[in-house]
Symmetry: C2
Subunit: 173 residues, 2 copies
């Protein structure tokens, strides 16, 4: 059984207390190339985690900004997380809507396919730049050697697939 939203959030809280908003930010910047999350998943999960005593909530009132809830992992939460991190890893899952379209695009006009290519290239370039831009601050705030591998993996992935896409869009024209 792969690690799900609950374990990911527990994992992020291991590096210190955070709000749901901050958890989302970490997910969007540093883990976005191998996991994706939305607020619609984060807040309900945090609520369940609190009900199960895996995290505790501290409410902070703010005047200039909305009030916030800071979540801290408990010992029970730590134990649950340790169990999950030691469990065997499962298969990676990639769902590419772009490749799906391309695979079945035999009846689409060339121009339409070119647009799909360009959109996918643009998306990947944004992802690549976002990830690369993270590196400096990430190292400052403490990046482990193992986390560096997840970073390298993302860069290699985007770089290699962008090359294929850019070559293909040329021969499509």
């Amino acid at each position: 059984m792969a690690m799900k939203g609950r374990e990911i959030i527990l994992g992020i809280l291991q590096s210190g207390p955070h709000t749901g908003y901050e958890i989302n930010d970490i997910l969007q910047t540093r883990l976005s190339h191998f996991f994706d999350a939305t607020f619609g998943m984060i807040y309900p999960t945090l609520k369940k985690l609190e009900a199960e005593k895996l995290v505790t909530k501290q409410q902070i009132s703010q005047t200039d900004r909305p009030n916030k809830n800071i979540y801290t992992i408990t010992e029970v939460g730590q134990a649950e997380f340790s169990k999950a991190i030691g469990a065997p890893t499962s298969d990676e899952i990639l769902k590419s809507d772009f490749l799906m379209h391309l695979y079945f695009s035999q009846d689409l006009p060339k121009d339409q396919v070119t647009v799909f290519f360009q959109e996918e290239i643009a998306r990947k370039e944004v992802k690549l730049v976002t990830l690369q831009a993270q590196l400096a601050t990430w190292i400052e705030n403490g990046m482990t050697e193992r986390q560096k591998v997840t970073f390298d993996y993302g860069i290699a992935y985007y770089t290699a697939t962008l090359a294929v896409l850019k070559k293909a869009v040329k021969s499509n024209q």
Copy 2:
């Protein structure tokens, strides 16, 4: 809205009538690097598609093997598929349980992490070999230029990430 199971199955049926078993086979060999399916999804989807008249079912009795159902796409199904294939593509989604483990592995012993690396490398090598082995028969049975791009994408992806993984497992030892 990304293409879901129903559109994928409709897409496969565009290249001719197939059984659920055959659909699974195509998915596991040629599309497995960007989509994954299970029988638990395929058969119920086929049933819904038939109820909605997007496909028709022909029952074939066999003596030496189990009976089978051959599904054929209808005109309504064609129309639905054309609509889906022309719609904008959405973001790719990658979920890597291995990278998740690696990212949060600070408390795991080196040996355990090495095992995770080796397992992931083995999985990817199998995927790479399976995909490469498909090429010859795929070309014979008709592979479009665009499908060739999805193939190249998969090869580039596995090759690039395997290189990162192999380098990292060495420095981990």
